[in-house]
């Protein structure tokens, strides 16, 4: 067993035993749903249904129900896509990269972060689908053999790369998440008494018996999947950024985009994890497992990635001036002084200035401040994508085509709707799935549990 310094803050507070951990995590699943949960899921499913209705309206009527036009061909659709994909970055980063770096604190948050990733990627995948003029032909983007002879997809197109990147990322994340769930499902299976639930959890746990051989294979598979997932964390958003970086549009055509997008994604992903977990730990009384130390660690990641994003913004501005390209420089001047300057300055404030508050230890360790700032960061990151997409497109090369984008109710409805679907899925997850990786947590109880550490100090 690993030894950990006694003066380092313990990761599991309270004088927990192994049984306590199981009780704390499985208890809420076995008990009746709380009133708060019922209210929340009602609200979120109403929003989700509204969103689904908006999507059906869109598909049945045409993309024209959005506010897009001949100049701005993408706006909220792709903004939402990139935003959701970005949010979907934290989970895999936490479970894969932090696993490889042996960061034990990830164990308290990785399960729900991964769930969030899965749901966020599902939400992200909605947009490239519905933004198509003819979604019923979406299968054209797959390189399927067909009867048309040489008809094939265009491997030059970054959108095609997206298809592969997102689907790979989604499937690997899903497998990784599910593999982690297997021993925990087995634990639940062993405890639940209702026959139906027992059967379901039995199926889902794939016959896990907790033998040493199972554990051995589990560990090995986790490591392999972590190895596969780690490059994906970087590749997905790099490829998403190439949708823009490989184009000719001033403000899109920027080589800095891949690292800038990846750090932005991690930034927003962690912020979303904070938003969700701060509520969840309270609702499910997991304060002992997810406590200030975890929050602080995540805030540190937010400072680092937020600062990278800030540097990227400034670099873009510098390069637009330094390059001497009039279109490029105008694109950036237009960003901060043109019709969409409000979006630009919202982005700057939320993404560059607000995370710097985390340099103050008091703020960094304040749960309330963290909650507020995590939402601010995600607002900022939404605006970042909006600024990149809309302000670059609305004034590009020919001033004759300069236009504007004004969102419609359907634009808003679908975005809000995806928030609703996402929350519904997440709430269902907290109700039926073990929200903490309880078997993994048990491995650090003796090295980082509060009571054991106290003993050491004695």
């Amino acid at each position: 067993m690993q030894k950990e310094s006694a003066i380092r803050e313990p990761l599991i507070l309270g004088h927990k035993t192994y049984k306590d951990i199981t009780d704390d995590v499985v208890g809420p699943i076995m008990g009746p749903a709380s009133l708060g949960w019922k209210i929340l899921i009602t609200i979120s499913s109403i929003i989700a249904i509204y969103g689904i209705g908006s999507i059906l309206y869109l598909i049945s009527t045409g993309v024209g129900v959005w506010g897009l036009n001949k100049t701005v061909g993408w706006a909220w659709d792709i903004t939402n896509f990139v935003w959701w994909v970005g949010i979907g970055h934290a989970g895999t980063l936490i479970s894969a990269v932090l696993l490889l770096f042996r960061q034990k604190w990830r164990m308290a948050i990785n399960r729900s972060a991964e769930a969030m990733t899965i749901f966020a990627v599902i939400m992200a995948a909605v947009f490239p689908g519905i933004h198509m003029g003819r979604i019923w032909l979406a299968y054209y983007v797959f390189p399927l053999p067909n009867q048309f002879g040489s008809l094939w997809v265009n491997f030059n197109s970054p959108l095609l790369w997206d298809v592969f990147a997102i689907s790979t990322y989604f499937s690997v994340s899903l497998v990784f998440w599910y593999v982690g769930l297997i021993p925990d499902f087995a634990t639940i299976r062993d405890r639940v008494t209702k026959p139906f639930a027992k059967k379901m959890y039995g199926i889902m746990s794939f016959g896990w018996s907790g033998r040493a051989k199972h554990w051995n294979r589990f560990e090995e598979l986790s490591l392999v999947l972590a190895g596969i997932a780690t490059p994906l964390v970087f590749s997905v958003h790099s490829i998403v950024s190439m949708d823009f970086a490989t184009s000719v549009i001033p403000g899109w055509h920027t080589t800095i985009f891949p690292p800038y997008f990846v750090s932005g994604a991690v930034f927003s992903g962690f912020a979303m994890v904070q938003t969700l977990l701060l509520v969840m730990r309270k609702a499910y009384k997991l304060e002992d497992y997810i406590h200030v130390k975890h929050v602080e660690y995540m805030n540190i990641v937010i400072i680092v990635t937020g600062s990278i994003v800030g540097v990227a913004y400034l670099t873009e501005l510098f390069i637009s001036w330094y390059s001497g390209v009039e279109y490029e420089s105008y694109a950036f001047i237009n960003r901060f002084s043109g019709p969409y300057k409000a979006a630009y300055w919202t982005m700057m404030t939320c993404n560059v200035i607000s995370p710097q508050l985390f340099w103050f230890k008091k703020i960094r360790r304040s749960l309330v401040a963290t909650f507020i700032l995590s939402i601010v960061v995600n607002i900022g990151m939404w605006f970042e994508r909006y600024v990149i997409i809309v302000t670059s497109l609305h004034r590009d090369y020919l001033p004759s085509s300069w236009g504007e984008f004004i969102p419609t109710a359907t634009d808003v409805g679908i975005f809000i709707g995806t928030l609703g679907i996402f929350l519904t899925l997440f709430l269902a997850f907290t109700r039926f799935f073990p929200v903490l990786a309880l078997n993994e947590l048990k491995t650090i109880l003796k090295s980082s549990g509060e009571s054991y550490k106290n003993e050491q100090v004695k």
């Binding site: 045409g62 024209g64 993408w74 198509m132 003029g133 003819r134 032909l137 983007v141 090369y397 020919l398």
Partner: protein, 1059 residues
């Protein structure tokens, strides 16, 4: 012999044995074991299982459901006897002519399977090189207007021709006065048909040029509008005459004017324009000066004074200087110049006549010997008629080819008079303002269904021939005249033929070979009677000069003008024309008040118009009339003046003039007035005109404008006015700068430098690598080139910015040729117009980054200031369509390879494959790709505007071009259907494709030949020569997309210091 044979099935039957009898009586020869089956004990225990039951149920349900579905039946009826000249899939062209009182053109009508689908100029034998304008091209749509009357009506109810004829004849033969009121009839035979009626014939014009004619009559003794020859006019001074768009028969002038504008010939005409509203012609002027309408006469007088050696008085210094410059240019080009004035003021026209006489232009650029037959309307006779009608002196009024209830300045008086006419007959094809107020409507054929002869000038007869059988129970107006005159033979075609061959009989249909060749060409020689004007007669101008000097304007003056798309109101229900943006303002579907920025700011009006930035409605008071219209900021508008287009406000009483003539809302529904009538588009500005000495003046020297608190959306296709100093988009220079470097090779002249990039290589061979080492952008290639250079065909296009006048004929032609969806005002407002070709109109700004640097203004503020056009800006029109890039950014980004490069250099769209990600449109630097946001042909939002919605209007669609589905991207295809058919023709004839055999709709429509199309690989082609000319450049050359479209640097004939 009766057939008594009988056949037997066998011997048994022949013998009639008992056994046979028994078998015969049974249905089945052998006993069927029914009892055995029923007696089976197991039978009771067999069951129909649940699964079987469900299967049967399911099958029955499915079968019933399928049987209930109706398979749509599409009826297509083949020819029983195929006409020899019609081959399905092959177009036929018929020469014809167009005249509607405003426009005159020789045309070719393209028909497919017997229906006209396109109108183009008759380049072979047409007047003015057979050029047409947007209104003429769009006129084909009106053939298929659902609002057309399907037969004669009486008081709005359908009637029969015989009833109508009886009633009209009876009324004509009665005691009262019978009058035929028409627009100017230029058809000799029609005139005769009207004469045969024996009624009084009064002509009036919606746009009157009576003063011009009177001035010629007074000065030279010929009461006619002269013919102007712009092809000889090296200096043109126009005082508010929009001669490229609407002044007289403008279709004849534009090509002549353009022929002297191309600087490659080493010379370029000089064009001065003095005007209040920024007209299309004004945007093309070398020197444009803003004046008030009340100053028009003074400018003419000033020029006369300078030409006589005097000075200009009473005008401000800048204007005086411009007048002197114009006068000096005129006197330097005597006999090869033109001074024209758009006003209908007799004094001004007298002075103008005197100036042209002084310059010796009569007999050279101005011809009164064979004057124009158009615009012979008699305003005083029309005014007298209205008075007589009101006093009940007119019992029969036949209106033909005109809409006086709408377009007379005193239409109200006309209408009240019309109500007192006992038998009023309108011959208009739709129940418009006049027709719906007349007792009878005897609908005339559409011109594409008619025979006619037209003579614009003596010596030539242009023929109108039908391109389709009349769609409805209409009758040629001339035939109606003949019927009502009780002529012996009332057949109009026979009457027409016998005008040219007295011996003609109906049986001799094909006997007259001269006639047939004339019909083939669309024209023939006519009686060449020339007038004998006295060009040398002295003209007394002192009275006129005194009169014009006394004209004073109020604080605000009004000019009414004719738009390139709306005409005088004839085309109000034409969706293609309504959606074609105004060449200057780029506003579609609307009427508005043009105002200068300073006036708008003073009144606190919104100057920036966009989707959610609405225009402020202003109240314009003219005498006792008040109208409300949105105000539009028009650079170049003289402060203190406003402009309102004529031709709007049609159908203000809910007349059924066509569903596209009314305003549509967000869901495409017709907007309704409080009165329950559909809301017309704009207001009628004819009543706002004024009158001087009996002549209608299309201006008013004293009006009042107030702001209201209402706002109104204006759908503008271009909301940004300047090109922000981006000289790789637009290149322009002055004529003297051009001449100074006219011999330099391409890419070297200072006004069209090739774009070079710094390279890390010693390209200038000076031994060091430094900032002076540059290489042209064209040398850089990220991609492998498409193998189209010098291999096979490489279709390309060249566009001369110098000669492009912005007239938008190409836009209308392209839309009709390529079935471009009409989307209506609300969608245009959302920046979703679908035009494959657009004309970018840029105004010059007073500000630039360099100026900002000099004045110490920051870059950011400079960019802000550069967005504002100058008060009286120079203008560039830049037609923009798919550039067919050889390194097309759209092609690389399509995930499904729906847009690809053809081996002939075309960037082509495969609609079937497109899934509509719009990535290509985003990545298009020229923003020429158009997305099908909705199912335009099926979505109810478009039913009032899109021709694909009703079965009649749908006939105008070009069967060679797919009507695009919802969700796919589309764009200019360089009329690939025409390229293909051209290639097929060449293949059939076994010859190479000659330059000019294949031409796109836009190039064909261009009245000034600014657009050329051809094969860039053909070394002898026009486009190849132009592409190698030193004025040619690629728009946005530095991004390296290598377009197949070349632009030519705009050259203005201005001194480089005034450029």
């Amino acid at each position: 012999m009766a057939n008594t044979k009988k056949y037997w099935s066998g011997l048994d039957e022949l013998d009639g044995t008992a056994a046979f009898q028994e078998i015969q009586s049974k249905e089945f020869q052998e006993q069927i074991p029914v009892d055995k089956f029923l007696a089976d004990e197991k039978l009771n225990s067999t069951t129909t299982g649940r699964r079987d039951f469900l299967k049967f149920m399911g099958f029955s349900l499915t079968a019933a459901t399928l049987a209930a579905c109706e398979t749509p039946v599409i009826k297509s009826i083949p020819y029983t006897n195929k006409p020899a000249e019609i081959t399905p899939g092959v177009a036929n062209y018929y020469a014809s002519s167009y005249y509607d009182g405003l426009d005159y053109a020789n045309i070719l009508v393209k028909t497919r399977e017997g229906r006209p689908i396109f109108v183009k100029g008759n380049a072979a034998t047409g007047l003015g090189a057979g050029k047409v304008n947007a209104r003429v091209i769009g006129s084909v749509m009106e053939l298929y207007d659902k609002a057309r009357l399907e037969g004669p009506t009486k008081n709005g109810e359908a009637t029969t021709w015989s009833e109508l004829d009886a009633a009209v004849s009876a009324s004509m033969n009665g005691n009262g006065r019978a009058v035929v009121l028409s627009n100017t009839i230029v058809s000799p035979s029609t005139r005769k048909a009207i004469e045969s009626l024996g009624a009084e014939h009064i002509q009036y014009d919606a746009i009157s040029y009576s003063a011009l004619r009177e001035a010629q009559a007074a000065s030279f003794g010929v009461n006619a509008v002269p013919h102007y020859d712009f092809s000889k006019a090296n200096v043109v001074v126009s005082i508010a005459a929009d001669f490229l768009n609407s002044w007289l028969t403008a279709t004849q002038f534009a090509p002549d004017y353009a022929s002297l504008r191309n600087p490659n010939s080493g010379s370029q005409s000089k064009h001065f324009q003095f005007e209040s509203v920024m007209s299309m012609t004004g945007t093309n002027a070398d020197v444009r000066t803003m004046i008030s309408p009340s100053e028009e006469g003074k400018v003419a007088a000033g020029i006369l004074s300078v030409l006589k050696g005097g000075t200009v008085s009473n005008l401000d210094a800048k204007l005086s200087a411009r007048i002197k410059a114009a006068a000096n240019a005129l006197s330097g080009s005597k006999g090869e110049s033109l001074l024209i004035a758009g006003t209908n003021d007799l004094s001004t026209q007298t002075i103008v006549a005197a100036i042209n006489q002084l310059l010796g232009n009569y007999g050279t650029t101005i011809d009164l010997e064979r004057p124009s037959q158009a615009y012979r309307g008699d305003e005083s006779a029309a005014a007298q008629l209205i008075a007589d009608m009101n006093s009940g002196k007119v019992s029969t009024l036949i209106t033909y080819g005109c809409n006086p209830s709408y377009d007379m300045p005193n239409a109200q008086a006309f209408n009240s008079g019309l109500a007192k006419v006992s038998t009023s007959v309108s011959m208009n094809g739709v129940a418009d303002e006049t027709a719906s107020r007349s007792t009878f409507v005897a609908p005339d054929h559409h011109y594409l269904e008619s025979w006619n002869d037209l003579s614009l000038r003596a010596g030539r007869i242009d023929l109108v021939q039908p391109a389709i059988e009349p769609l409805f129970n209409t009758r040629a107006a001339q035939e109606s005249f003949l019927v009502w005159s009780s002529a012996e033979n009332s057949d109009w075609y026979t009457f027409l033929r016998s005008q040219y061959n007295a011996a003609y009989t109906l049986d001799a249909l094909y006997s007259d070979s001269d006639w047939n060749s004339a019909i083939h060409d669309g024209n023939m020689a006519g009686n060449d009677v020339s007038e004998s004007p006295n060009y040398a007669a002295p003209i007394e101008t002192s009275l006129a000069e005194r009169k014009v000097s006394k004209v004073t304007g109020g604080d605000m003056e009004l000019v009414t003008y004719v738009k390139a798309t709306a005409g005088a109101g004839q085309h109000a229900a034409n969706p293609f024309l309504q959606e074609t943006p105004d060449p200057v303002s780029k506003v579609t579907w609307d009427n508005y008040v043009t105002m200068s920025k300073s006036d708008m700011v003073a009144l606190g009006l919104n100057t920036y118009i966009a989707q959610e930035d609405l225009a402020t409605v202003v109240k314009v008071t003219v005498g006792d009339k008040q109208i409300e219209l949105p105000a539009f900021m028009q650079p170049g508008q003289k402060p203190g003046t406003i402009g309102i287009a004529l031709g709007y406000g049609r159908g203000s009483k809910g007349e059924k003039i066509g569903q596209a003539a009314y305003q549509t809302g967000e869901k495409g529904q017709h907007l309704m007035l409080d009165s329950g009538l559909p809301m017309p588009i704009g207001v009628n500005a004819f009543p706002l005109t004024s009158n001087s000495e009996g002549n209608t003046i299309y201006a008013n020297y004293d009006v009042n404008v107030e702001a209201t608190d209402r706002e109104y959306p204006l759908a503008c296709t271009q909301i940004h006015n300047t090109y922000m100093g981006r000289d790789s988009v637009v290149r322009e220079t002055s004529f003297d700068s051009y001449l100074a470097e006219a011999d330099k090779p391409k890419g070297k002249a200072s006004w069209n430098m090739a774009h070079a990039l710094n390279v890390h290589d010693d390209t200038n061979h000076d031994g060091v690598i430094d900032a002076r080492d540059k290489e042209n952008t064209s040398e850089f290639d990220l991609w492998h080139s498409h193998p189209v250079k010098d291999v096979g065909h490489r279709w390309g296009m060249t566009i001369d910015l110098t000669t492009c006048t912005g007239c938008s004929a190409c836009v209308t032609a392209c839309s009709i040729e390529n079935n471009v969806s009409v989307v209506g005002k609300d969608e245009v407002l959302r920046h979703r117009d679908m035009h494959w070709i657009r004309i970018d109109r840029y105004y010059a700004s007073d500000f630039s980054l360099e100026k900002g640097e000099e004045e110490g203004v920051g870059v950011i503020s400079s960019y802000g200031l550069m967005e504002d056009p100058a008060e009286n800006p120079q203008t560039v029109h830049m037609p923009m369509m798919c550039q067919h890039c050889n390194h097309a950014p759209c092609e690389t980004v399509c995930p499904v390879a729906a847009t690809t490069h053809s081996n002939e250099g075309l960037n082509q769209m495969t609609y079937n494959r497109c899934i509509g990600t719009r990535y290509c449109a985003n990545n298009c630097p020229y923003k020429v790709r158009r997305f099908n946001w909705f199912n335009y042909k099926g979505n109810s939002k478009f039913e009032n505007v899109n021709p694909a919605h009703d079965s009649l209007a749908r006939m105008v669609l070009n069967p060679d071009v797919t009507v695009r589905a919802r969700g796919v991207m589309e764009k200019c295809s360089m009329c690939v259907q025409r390229i293909q058919s051209g290639k097929l023709e060449a293949k059939k004839s076994g010859s190479a494709i000659n330059d000019g055999e294949i031409v796109t709709a836009c190039a064909e429509a261009c009245p000034s030949n600014a657009i050329a199309f051809g094969d860039l690989n053909d070394t002898g082609s026009q486009v190849r020569a132009i592409s190698e000319n030193n004025r040619s450049y690629h728009a946005l050359e530095e991004i390296g997309v290598q377009p197949n479209v070349f632009y030519m640097t705009k050259v203005r004939n201005v001194d480089s210091n005034e450029a």
